[in-house]
């Protein structure tokens, strides 16, 4: 992403070098389009290119630990359906090639970018950082549970 200064890229590299321990797989669900290309509603994707730049920024900060899988949902609709990804851009974070259960729908900027970096680091370290009480409570969940958190960049 050209708007991210080199200094920030370097900071991210330095941080990931010390913090990341295990592999992280990012899956970017996308479709062709950009903010610079006007397409009929429902066809284009205003933020997909930026999301791709952001995902590549993360991968390039630690290419030995982070892999990036790009799924174009116009070419692989079945994969998007199977993974339960209805919208693009979506970035899923996981420790392996399985479908990530940590997802960012839309371009994660501002506080969401910080949360994305936090997610990458926690997945890499397999460190949820929750209390024993919370873990015991979570063990009571026996059905798939979706937690959607709406946020804005500021």
């Amino acid at each position: 992403m050209t708007v991210i200064p080199e200094q920030v890229r370097q900071q991210l590299k330095d941080r990931f070098e010390t913090v990341l321990t295990g592999p992280v797989n990012l899956t970017l669900y996308t479709r062709p389009g950009s903010s610079r290309l006007i397409l009929p509603a429902g066809v284009g994707c205003a933020t997909c290119q930026d999301a791709r730049d952001m995902a590549e920024l993360l991968r390039d900060a630690a290419p030995e630990k982070i892999t990036l899988d790009v799924v174009d949902i116009t070419r692989d609709e079945e994969r998007a359906l199977a993974d339960g990804v209805p919208e693009v851009p979506t970035i899923a974070v996981a420790s392996d090639a399985e479908t990530g259960r940590i997802r960012f729908q839309g371009l994660p900027t501002g506080t969401e970018f910080a949360a994305l970096i936090d997610a990458v680091e926690r997945v890499s370290r397999d460190e949820a950082g929750l209390s024993e009480e919370s873990l015991e409570a979570l063990a009571k969940l026996t059905e798939p549970t979706e937690v959607m958190v709406f946020a804005t960049p500021t």
């Binding site: 339960g84 960012f104 994660p108 969401e112 798939p144 937690v147 958190v149 709406f150 946020a151």
Partner: protein
């Protein structure tokens, strides 16, 4: 949203989806998002505001229909049922 992500990391049952509210206005309208963070559980229950970890976990369990004891204070933003639309 960090707590939701951490819950997804801790439990294979949890899927955390952080939604950029401005980018998906139809979702923001569907779930009547007026302020952020706005958390929606299984598209049925919701609460607004950043809760401390024990309250957040309790609210998610409550929203998911799991009976919870009351080891902590009740969530400051009570979970509300979302009317069918």
């Amino acid at each position: 949203m960090s707590l939701a992500n951490r819950m997804a990391l801790a439990s294979p049952q949890v899927r955390a989806v952080c939604v950029e509210a401005n980018e998906f206005p139809y979702l923001s309208n569907q779930f009547r998002v007026r302020g952020v963070p706005h958390t929606v559980i299984n598209r049925k229950a919701a609460f607004v505001g950043a809760l401390p970890e024990p309250d957040f976990v309790a609210a998610v369990l409550e929203g998911a229909g799991v009976p919870v004891e009351e080891p902590h204070e009740a969530p400051s933003g009570p979970t509300t049922e979302i009317a069918a639309s």
